[in-house]
C-alpha cells in the first residue's frame, strides 16, 4: 500500500510552533472554575487553577475574521494529507505543579510523530504533538502529549 504521508508531510516531524506566552490570572481561573462546576474552594477563589484550565489558556485568540463560518480558528500546524476529517484523539498530561495566579508561562508545541494505521473503516493517520509549559526561568510546569486522528 502506498504511503499516505508524503515526504513533505514527514518533514514536519520535529517542527515546533513559535512559543506561546501566557499569563495566569485569578479572574480567569474563577471563570473557568464556575463554568466547570468545581467544588473545591481553592479553585473557585482562583488561588490555584484546576488541571484542565491549561486547555483554555492555550487556545489562540485570533481576530474575528480569522474564524471560519463554523466559529473555529484555522489551525496551520498540520501537514497536508490525502485524508481530511480531523478528530481529537487522546491527551495525556504530566503535572509538575499546579498553575497559580501570576504565573507567566511559555508553551512550546512540537509535532512529535506521524503514524499510519489501518482502521476498521479505512486508513487512519495519527499525528502526535508534544507540548511543554515552562516558566520564564525554565521550570517545567506541565508536559502534554496529544494525538489527532485523521481519516
Amino acid at each position: 500500500m502506498p504511503s499516505m504521508v508524503s515526504d513533505e508531510a514527514r518533514s514536519w516531524i520535529g517542527r515546533s510552533q513559535p512559543p506561546i506566552h501566557m499569563e495566569v490570572t485569578r479572574r480567569d481561573i474563577q471563570k473557568y472554575a464556575v463554568a466547570t462546576e468545581q467544588r473545591q474552594q481553592k479553585f473557585l477563589d482562583g488561588d490555584e487553577a484546576p488541571p484542565m484550565f491549561l486547555f483554555g489558556l492555550l487556545r489562540p485568540i485570533v481576530p474575528l475574521d480569522g474564524l471560519g463560518p463554523d466559529g473555529i480558528a484555522r489551525d496551520g500546524f498540520l501537514p497536508d494529507f490525502p485524508l481530511k476529517r480531523i478528530m481529537a484523539g487522546g491527551t495525556e498530561m504530566t503535572y509538575h505543579r499546579p498553575l497559580r495566579p501570576g504565573d507567566k508561562l511559555i508553551a512550546t508545541k512540537t509535532l512529535a510523530d506521524i503514524q499510519e494505521k489501518q482502521g476498521g473503516s479505512g486508513p487512519l493517520i495519527f499525528v502526535s504533538y508534544d507540548l511543554t509549559v515552562e516558566t520564564e526561568d525554565g521550570e517545567v510546569v506541565v508536559e502534554e502529549r496529544s494525538t489527532r486522528i485523521i481519516r
Binding site: 480567569d28 466547570t36 473545591q40 484546576p50 485568540i61 495525556e92 498530561m93
Partner: protein, 142 residues
Amino acid sequence: MNATSKARFDAITVGDVLPERAFTASNVSLFLYNAAIWNAHRIHYDAPYTTDVEKHPAVVIDGPLQGDWMSQCVLDWMGEDGALLKFQYANRRASYLGETLKTVGCITAKDDAAKTVTMELGVQNEAGEIIAPGSAVVRFGG
C-alpha cells in the same frame, strides 16, 4: 508525608471505587465554559446551525469539559492528601445537551515505594456506555 496523607494512602486498596458524580450541562453552563476557554465553535451554542449544518442531534457538550469533569472525580477524592501527577483522557463518542453524564473511577494499582496510586476513570452516559475513558496517577504525601 503527613499523618493524614499516610493514613489515606495506607487505607487504599486496588479495586476501591471513587465517588461518582453526575453532571448535567445547561445552555448557560456550556456558554460560560466556551467563553472561558475562548471557543467559538457554533456546535456548542447555536442549535439550528448544529443540527442543520453539522448534523448533530443537538448542541454538543465539549470533549475537554468532560475531561475536566473526569479530573474532578480524582481531585475531589484525593483532596489535599494527594497530588495529581498524570491525567489522561480521550473522547470516544459525542454527548449532547440534555444528557446527564456521570464520572466514575476505580483504583487499579498501588505502588507502596513510590506512594502512588493509579486509577481508571470514565465518563458514562445514561445508557451506561463509557464515552470518554481516562486514567490518572496520584502521589500521596510530600
